[in-house]
């Protein structure tokens, strides 16, 4: 089955490399708005007054003294970088060239992503179902992963496996074994959760709650 994982991985890689939407340059004309009290110039840190201006760059306010607008425009990315989140976890994407991806040109990525998420979901459902019904879990999981809804529908139609591998509804795992308890009357061995003897029908004092009852 590790081959299946490798296969899925390879598929992912191929799709990642194959699907490459084109980035577009965005235009440079920034909107200007009026300064607010307390704002300081991004270039020289001096407080703004009414004659200065604030540019709206990628949704953020860039306060500038009039005299500093040129400095800013010479290398906006360098100054603007201060207003961007940076770290290992998150970033402004695609931040580097100040470009913005348009949705149409990147539909292959989006489609693949949605495909992957739904594959996972149906795989999870299929695996869950298989485990519940005592069927081989790994193969059924991958049927759901590769075939999505049809795969899951197929898994739904599988009959449950016979025998003790089934998990009663609502239980997380198969029930546990405990040492049997001998009946005081006839000596036959009973499940420790039993309320009456399987041999003579005598009333027993259950030692444990059964696994099924611990759910409720």
């Amino acid at each position: 089955m590790s081959r299946a994982i490798k296969g899925a991985f390879l598929l992912l890689l191929v799709m990642l490399v194959g699907a490459s939407g084109q980035a577009q340059d965005r235009n440079e004309g920034y909107k200007t708005v009026a300064p607010r009290a307390g704002e300081r110039c991004l270039v020289c840190r001096a407080p703004l007054n009414e004659t200065d201006l604030v540019l709206l760059v990628r949704g953020r306010r860039v306060p500038l003294k009039r005299a500093m607008v040129d400095s800013f425009m010479r290398d906006p990315d360098a100054f603007f970088s201060e207003l961007q989140p940076k770290g290992a976890l998150f970033h402004e994407s695609p931040g580097a060239e100040g470009s913005e991806v348009s949705v149409e040109t990147s539909s292959s990525w989006l489609t693949f992503g949605i495909y992957a998420v739904s594959a996972l979901l149906f795989a999870g459902l299929s695996g869950y179902r298989a485990v519940s019904r005592g069927l081989p879990a790994v193969s059924h999981f991958f049927i759901g992963l590769l075939l999505h809804l049809p795969g899951y529908l197929y898994v739904l139609t599988r009959p449950a496996a016979a025998g003790q591998n089934r998990i009663p509804a609502g239980l997380g795992k198969v029930p546990e074994t405990r040492p049997p308890v001998p009946c005081h009357g006839c000596g036959s061995e009973n499940h420790p959760a039993a309320r009456e003897c399987s041999g003579c029908g005598k009333q027993l004092e259950p030692v444990y709650a059964s696994d099924v009852s611990r759910l409720t």
Binding site: M1, I5, A8, L12, L16, S20, A23, K31, R36, A37, E39, R40, R45, R58, G59, R60, D77, S81, L83, Q84, P85, K86, G87, A88, L89, F90, H91, E92, S93, G95, A96, E97, E100, S102, V103, W109, L110, G113, I114, A116, V117, L120, L121, G127, Y128, V131, A137, V138, F141, I167, G172, V174, T177, R178, P179, V207, Y208, A209, D211, R214
Partner: protein, 759 residues
């Protein structure tokens, strides 16, 4: 030189802290050790219960018999020699016979010695029920005596060649043949299966007089002793059981080096307390035996900072301080352990550094300025730089392949430092990538940060499927199936599709309404959608750089309402079901989860994240008020800068991910993440107030196999709770509710939620 040596010792101590006493031999595919042809199975290979040990015995022979030269007609050389006649060894022998191999089993003591040593009448469980036993050896829930009787019958019926009282003392491999030495003979075999378990190697105190006749390391027939003064040393279950049994007819001193008995069964604890009350047992805590004499033992008892010596008059002493992995025995056979730090720290540091210097020189070609700590390297040709980098990396790989673990550490650092150091931003890359790294790694017109997300999501998906298979599908655990589906889906949806695509689509097609879509403050800041899931303080940017009100409202709601409510019901499950950092650890880091630092010292260090939390809080306040108090402007900027570099690059990225293969995946989450700390504090409060719905409980079936503790990625000693059937919640631990301990326990001991016994 001495300083350097002790520094290295310190570093190794930290790197090794995940394994401690419970280190296992290094195993490759099919349980093969570092010595080709030598296989290790059963308890020694980590199989915690009989059923798993049996399965390994069966499978290893199936594997060997599938090899070309599995069966060779050679009278002098066995096809396979099995050491140890426990569950795994016997099942392997049965299968070898079935496959027509020439085999022999060598046993040091008696057949199934470990189980013979169980207390009289002990019920042997046949867990886990979800798997049928494999192979021809019989297994079902039974008393110890019945089980062994059955096994003896099977051995007889199958005429198994088991040679008892023949412990293996040494082993060499020459010319593809193993020579195996016992006290009686020498055997030759083409393959060896080591199935000696871990119980046959009682730990020693290593003090003068320990070899005296009246000092035992095992408890034989306790009823033989009457009206004696007896010293029992140890604080585990076997020591307590011995003390309790012996105290019925004798006066017992119980010396233990710790201040409390923390890893004992609930029943044992009750009996111990009763015997202490009755005056039959005198516990001597925080004590260490320093020597044994003719009729006495000297014990040093800690008394505050100082020690007091005390002499005990005794007739017999039992030192029952557990068993060691037979490390010395394994070493003598040439077997390597899984977390063995050998090799040269200095060499791997230099090689790694040389690799970076090489890249720095090479970078000149792409617009960088080559230097080392400001020293100009422009005189070197760029091809030389490239050659240097390649040679250094090849050197790391080559020394790593020969067993130098530091080399792998260096390589891991090289990779992740590059990935994160470049990701800091175009023009802001760390040395040696400054000025060229970002552009170089921005393939196909996409920025590096985009590819980083692709790699991250890819790793999580690929390894997530593997982890899902390991914990969910193979162990038939539905909780784990959903957990991994959830982790991987959250990554895809909230940390890839939304910030990269769906947000733009929502704006472009006005799914968010015309007003929002046309407001640049909202529409042009797709990155803020990370804040849908990432809460303050992990993502304090939600409140920075003039966010749209919608983000402020959501950010406040998320941190102060949604998360606390979630914590109330689920503890810190955010870390194990949702978060991307935790997600990478649970998926990509899963194979190394057993290396998480363990022990009291490791737990104590968890205070570090409080510092990060406080720093994040201070930085947030500074940034929010800097427009009002202009004087704070530069302080605020500085604090954000420091936080960015220290926390958001080094602590969350470079350091922890570099350490994945060595300390497990949760170094950031456990030691540094401010959000985890915030949730931890909330959960602790809720637990103390008894509001919390989150806990793990244990029934009475724990056999002390350590599987739960070994696999806990946040280094919680789950076993010590399970043995005593104590509730594990966030009042006393930083459990993130991943449920791996519940899943890993072969005895079905643990469960979330309500106590399941009725007593």
């Amino acid at each position: 030189m001495l300083r350097a040596q002790s520094l290295k010792t310190k570093i190794v101590e930290i790197l090794h802290s995940g394994s401690g006493e419970n280190e296992r031999p290094l195993l490759r595919k099919n349980n093969e050790s570092n010595i080709p042809g030598l296989f290790i199975i059963g308890d020694l290979a980590g199989a915690p219960v009989i059923k798993y040990a049996m399965a390994q015995g069966h499978e290893v022979i199936e594997h060997i018999s599938s090899l070309n030269d599995a069966v060779v007609n050679d009278k002098d050389v066995f096809d396979v020699l099995i050491i140890g006649a426990g569950a795994s060894g016997l099942n392997a022998a049965l299968q070898a016979k079935e496959r027509g191999m020439r085999y022999v089993v060598l046993e040091k003591n008696q057949i199934a010695n470990t189980i013979e040593n169980f207390p009289e009448g002990k019920w042997v469980y046949a867990e886990p029920d979800s798997q049928p036993p494999k192979g021809k050896l019989w297994l079902d829930g039974a008393s110890k005596e019945d089980l062994i009787q059955n096994w003896r019958r099977i051995i007889k019926d199958n005429k198994l060649d088991v040679r008892v009282q023949e412990g293996v003392e040494g082993l060499e491999k020459a010319g593809g043949v193993f020579k195996v030495r016992t006290a009686k003979a020498e055997y030759r075999a083409r393959r060896v299966v080591l199935a000696t378990g871990q119980r046959g190697n009682p730990r020693k105190l290593g003090i003068p007089g320990e070899e005296r006749e009246q000092v035992y390391h095992r408890l034989y027939s306790p009823r033989k002793y009457k009206n004696e003064n007896i010293l029992v040393v140890g604080g585990g279950n076997s020591a307590i059981e011995a003390a309790v049994t012996l105290s019925q007819q004798n006066k017992v001193y119980l010396s233990y080096r710790k201040g409390e008995f923390s890893r004992i069964f609930k029943d044992n604890d009750a009996q111990l307390q009763a015997q202490i009350k009755a005056g039959q047992i005198e516990p001597i805590l925080n004590s260490e035996i320093t020597s044994f004499g003719e009729k006495e033992a000297t014990v040093a008892v800690a008394d505050g900072r100082s020690q007091k010596k005390r002499k005990l008059a005794i007739d017999h002493a039992f030192v029952l301080i557990g068993a060691d992995v037979p490390r010395a025995f394994l070493k003598s056979l040439g077997i390597r352990m899984e977390n063995e730090w050998q090799g040269s720290l200095l060499r791997s540091t230099l090689l790694t550094l040389a690799g970076f210097v090489g890249l720095s020189v090479f970078g000149a070609k792409l617009g960088g300025s080559p230097n080392l700590l400001g020293w100009d390297l422009a005189f070197m040709p760029d091809w030389l730089g490239m050659a240097m980098a390649i040679v250094s990396l090849a050197g790391l790989v080559a020394t790593g392949a020969r067993g130098d673990r530091f080399a792998w550490l260096g390589l891991s650092f090289f990779i992740w430092y590059t990935i994160y150091g470049v990701k800091v931003g175009n023009g802001e890359e760390f040395w040696p990538f400054t000025g060229w790294g970002y552009k170089l790694l921005s393939f196909l017109d996409r920025p590096w940060s985009f590819w980083y997300t692709v790699i991250y999501t890819g790793l999580m998906t690929g390894f997530g499927l593997q982890a899902l298979k390991r914990w969910g599908l193979e162990r038939k655990d539905r909780f784990q199936i959903w957990r991994f589906v959830s982790l991987v889906s959250f990554q895809w949806i909230f940390f890839f599709l939304i910030p990269e695509y769906l947000f733009q689509a929502a704006v472009q097609y006005q799914w968010v309404g015309e007003k929002l879509a046309s407001d640049p403050t909202f529409a042009e800041q797709a990155w803020r959608s990370y804040g849908i899931i990432y809460a303050w303080p992990l993502f304090f940017y939600t409140f920075f750089y003039n966010p749209h009100q919608i983000w402020i409202v959501w950010g406040l709601l998320l941190t102060f309402v949604v998360i606390p409510v979630f914590v109330l019901f689920n503890g810190k499950r955010y870390c194990s079901w949702i978060c991307g950092c935790g997600g990478l650890a649970e998926t990509f880091g899963d194979r190394w989860r057993h290396l998480a630092p363990k022990g009291k010292a490791a737990v104590k260090l968890e205070w570090m994240s409080l510092i990060v939390l406080i720093f994040a809080a201070v930085a947030t306040v500074l940034v929010l008020i800097k427009d009002i108090y202009g004087a704070l402007y530069s302080t605020a900027d500085l604090s954000i800068y420091i936080y960015r570099i220290c926390a958001d690059v080094w602590l969350v990225g470079i350091l922890p991910v570099t350490l994945y293969p060595f300390l497990g995946g949760k170094i950031w989450c456990r030691y540094w993440c401010p959000l985890a700390k915030l949730m931890g504090l909330q959960s602790k409060l809720f637990s103390k107030l008894k509001w919390s719905r989150f806990k793990i409980v244990a029934n009475d079936k724990c056999i002390g196999c350590y599987e739960c503790s070994r696999n806990c990625q946040v280094g919680i000693d789950v076993m010590s709770y399970a043995l005593k059937q104590e509730v594990l919640d966030n009042a006393t631990s930083s459990c993130i509710g991943c449920g791996i301990c519940v899943t890993a326990c072969p005895m079905d001991t643990l469960s979330f939620g309500s106590q399941n016994t009725m007593q």
